[in-house]
Symmetry: C3
C-alpha cells in the first residue's frame, strides 16, 4: 500500500508530528491485508509483520524520529541544526536555501520502521516528524507499507 | 521475522558492534524460511533475497554503519559528532541531553541492508553499530528481516 | 532482485547522479516480475508496488537524495559538510580520513524509496546521489528491489 498525504507548514523550520497519521495508515493496511487474505480463501493473519517506509519527496525537507514528549527537544533540534549547517558566504545556489538542502541530506529523506504483529514498532518516547527546513510551504509525505 | 535484543551501554557515548548479532539473526531467518517453505510443500529456496532493517527505538541513540577494523575511527566519530552538535546555552530541554537528540536525528534511527542469496550484503570494512549518545543505559535494538 | 554496479569517482568529494541507473533497474525488475507471474500461471500485475533500497557498501562514501536541477546545490553540500565535519587535530585514525567517515555516518549508507504502480516515487526535484568523500576511488553501489 502506497499513500500520499499533504503536510502544510507555517514556519521556516518546523517539525510536524505525523505519528498518528502513520499509525492509522498501518491500521488501515492491516485491515485490508486481512480482508484480501479472506477473499483469496487463505486464512487471514490478523497481525502480520512488515515494514513501513516514510518518505519525504522534497529536497529542503526531511523525515526524522525523535522525542514525542517535550517540545523543547524540537526547539533545540532547530537551533542545533542551524548552528551545524548555517548559511555560508561560499554558497552559490541562487535560491539561498542551501542550508535547508544540507539539513535535508543529513537528517535524511526516508525512515523505515518495523511492523510487528500488525503494530508499528516505535519506542515509548519516539514520534515520527516531517521536518520543514525552508517553509512555509505546501508539502506532501509518502508512506509505503508492506505486510507479509 | 521481528526480533528484539538488549544492548547494555557503559559510557556516555559508545559504539557497540552488533554486526555478528545481525548476521546470526539473518542466518536464523533464512533457516526458518527454508523450513516453512518445506512444510508448505513448496520447493525451499535455501538462499532467498530480502532486506534487513535495523531499528533503534530510542531518541538519544541511533544505528549506523561504519569501519569495523580500526577502533580509532569510532573515537574520531565521537569527537567529530561532539564538535558538530555540542551542548549550547540556547537549548531549553530540561534533561540537558539535547546534543544526544541531535546526534540521534542526524545519524538516524534505522538502516536498511540488502540480503542477497541468504547473506547480508555488507562491504568488506563495514560493521553495524548501535550508537549510544546518552549512556550508560539499558537499551534495546530491533531487527526486522523480510525474505522472499 | 539485488544488483551491484560500479561507480568510478574522480575527485576527493563528489556527488554522482545515479538516478537513471536506479530507475532503469526498477524498470527491469518490474518486467521480470510480470514475466515470472506469467510463467506461474498467475495474472501478471504490470504495475506492482514495492520498495527500492539503495545501499553504499563503503565507509567513506554514502547515498543521499537531493536536488537534481542546479549543480550549485552539490557544490554547497560539499562546502557545508566540510565545515560541519572538518579534519581535527584530536583525530587518531592513521589513514587521516576520519572526516570522510563522519560524513558517511551522517549522510548514511542507505536510502529506501517507495515504488508505486511500477514507478519509483521521487519528487520532482529529487535525484539519487552516490556520495564520494574520500576519492578518487573505484566504488560500487547495491540496489535491492522488492515488488509485491
Amino acid at each position: 500500500m502506497t499513500i500520499e498525504f499533504p503536510v502544510t507548514t507555517s514556519y521556516k523550520t518546523e517539525f510536524i508530528d505525523i505519528t498518528q497519521k502513520i499509525k492509522s495508515t498501518v491500521k488501515q493496511a492491516v485491515k485490508e491485508y486481512a480482508e484480501y487474505a479472506g477473499e483469496s480463501g487463505d486464512t487471514a493473519n490478523p497481525a502480520p509483520d512488515g515494514i513501513c517506509t516514510v518518505f519525504c519527496p522534497h529536497t529542503t525537507a526531511a523525515v526524522t524520529i525523535n522525542e514525542n514528549a517535550d517540545s523543547d527537544v524540537l526547539h533545540d533540534l532547530e537551533i542545533g541544526l542551524d548552528k551545524a549547517f548555517p548559511d555560508r558566504n561560499e554558497f552559490r545556489h541562487s535560491e539561498g536555501n542551501s542550508s535547508a538542502h544540507l539539513k535535508s541530506s543529513c537528517v535524511g529523506a526516508s525512515e523505515t520502521v518495523p511492523i510487528n504483529q500488525g503494530r508499528l514498532v516505535l519506542g515509548t518516547w519516539q514520534g515520527i516528524y516531517f521536518c520543514e527546513f525552508d517553509g512555509p510551504r505546501n508539502r506532501k509525505c509518502i508512506v509505503q507499507i508492506h505486510l507479509y
